[in-house]
Point group: C2
Chain length 335, copies 2
């Protein structure tokens, strides 16, 4: 029973209310995600000329790691904002590392707190969620940008690109979806109908990707608006080999493009593991696809009307190939 | 950021309040724990003569799997109680499997609901938590037992035994505890002091166990009282080889001893994986122990005064061997 706490999908929709971020465990996972943390570190350490003497705002500072990167790179002052009680730990860490005078940590919501300064030169933030946008802090970063970022200021990172591809995933689909057809001899298909609507956040073996990758959403953090994060966009993917399609997967790449030399990292299936993994959307039917054949469709992404922390994703696709045609509208919900 | 939901230790202390059990994910994990579920299934299917015509109470019925096992074994009627909204799914599953007339599911707290019957012949429940007692439902089972179990009735399972042993675990201790000494060049030792107080629920390789196993707490579900679950007991473990000790581990075995032929399963490091894994308690110092030398101590276990869902565990141990002596009192908290 106590396994409750270990169930991500069951917990994320409400974690907001009881401040799971107050526990170091989640920060341990993020700190130990070296693709993530070292990309941020490099973008800051390798651009000391950009941070030297600057006022920096760290949105969602957590344990203060990015704030300390910035302070160590010569920032004049760093303001770190976090609503979680982890900020008490962060204050201790910041002072243990001799940055008490350089880094000011403020607990509260970006929308509510008042910084001691009118403007900041640089905003740094690790705001990304699963599927980039699920429970992300991007809205908060935009609030900080519009309220505090000086004209011509910079945001680290400043680019995000979302991708979709198709995968052969028969075995895992059997384990996660078809499992419910027969549970110790009982019919659990009512759960199956829930399971298929829920995108699965998991690591996908690059070898199971059978298509090219279609970028379907580019986000420029310097200019994007909250409204831009509700979108319906087309996609087209082409089979790279003869295979079956059991699911679509989505992932994102992150760019620090204003650096002296741009720094990127990917959360894609081919890239090194990150705690964001990939997001899998199982199709109701298996597609039999030949090399070169195309799957076309649209991805519709919007915060849920009733619970804006949930994400409604509709993947509408059609396929017409040598071995048959499929046309489906699939409703998914990340909650 | 959205990784929040995946942090067990950070979430468990509050999951109660937002009904994480309503999501099928946690039940999927428990159902797929075959050591767990097949042990229950066997204890019921292989004892049809005990269930035939009996009234059965399933405490914390979840998706209703144990209730259906009992109904299929000829129970006259099964009452399943669960406070979680998963019970709505369970009702659908029970009816999809044709047990609507045999199984009655009631949503609520055992302490508050009123069964349509005065007594039941058998109580079945999967109540065990990490370290057996962390966020376990045993208290609820005892309430059900005292209120509803007929004189001479049975409880499945009816026995639980807790064990302690010692492990060589240098590498993982470096990864989980000493990691905080240097996080990307920063001093995070303030987190280290939190981390070492927190028992780690994880899978321990049997090969790292360097001692014998000492049973320190036997629980007879038919007779145990709530008070018995707050205890201070001695233990003594003997090194099975020359090795170092970095941590104590605890686990438990479960017994269905009133079956025609007793059925047991273990959550120990030598046994097949279960979702309970083992619980690791890191020691402040590394012990250098020779084969045959003994570590003696006491384990003190009590619900936390302020939050009874948290578990305070004090391991007091002393060791005197050829390569030195250690005496420590270690406070741990599962929350």
């Amino acid at each position: 029973m106590a396994a409750a706490g270990t169930d991500a999908s069951g917990l994320t929709s409400k974690d907001y209310y009881f401040d799971s971020y107050a526990h170091f465990g989640i920060h341990e996972e993020m700190l130990k995600d070296e693709v993530r943390t070292i990309s941020y570190r490099d973008s800051i350490y390798k651009n000391k000329h950009m941070f030297e003497g600057k006022v920096v705002l760290d949105v969602g500072c957590g344990t203060g790691i990015l704030s300390m990167f910035a302070a160590k790179s010569g920032a004049k002052h760093v303001y770190g904002i976090d609503m979680s009680n982890i900020i008490h730990q962060a204050r201790k860490i910041v002072s243990d590392n001799g940055f008490a005078d350089k880094i000011t940590l403020i607990q509260g919501k970006m929308e509510e707190v008042q910084l001691p300064v009118d403007k900041v030169d640089i905003i740094i933030s690790e705001w990304m969620g699963y599927f980039l946008l699920y429970e992300s802090m991007l809205d908060t970063v935009l609030v900080a940008r519009d309220k505090y970022l000086v004209e011509g200021g910079m945001i680290f990172p400043d680019k995000a690109t979302m991708y979709i591809g198709a995968i052969e995933d028969g075995d895992y689909k059997d384990e996660k979806i078809n499992y419910w057809d027969n549970v110790y001899g009982f019919d659990y298909s009512s759960i199956k109908s829930l399971a298929i609507k829920e995108p699965l956040v998991d690591t996908v073996d690059g070898a199971s990707v059978m298509s090219d990758a279609c970028p379907f959403k580019e986000i420029d953090i310097l200019t994007v608006t909250k409204e831009d994060l509700t979108f319906k966009v087309p996609f087209e993917i082409t089979a790279a080999r003869d295979d079956y399609v059991h699911a679509f997967i989505c992932w994102f790449d992150i760019g620090f493009t204003k650096c002296h030399k741009p720094i990127y990292f990917s959360t894609g299936p081919g890239a090194k593991y990150t705690h964001w993994k990939q997001t899998v959307f199982y199709t109701p039917e298996t597609l039999t696809v030949n090399k070169g054949e195309k799957i076309r469709g649209t991805i519709d992404c919007a915060p849920n009307g009733r619970n804006p922390r949930d994400l409604d994703i509709i993947i509408d696709y059609s396929f017409s190939g040598e071995h048959g045609s499929e046309q489906h509208t699939c409703d998914f919900k990340m909650s």
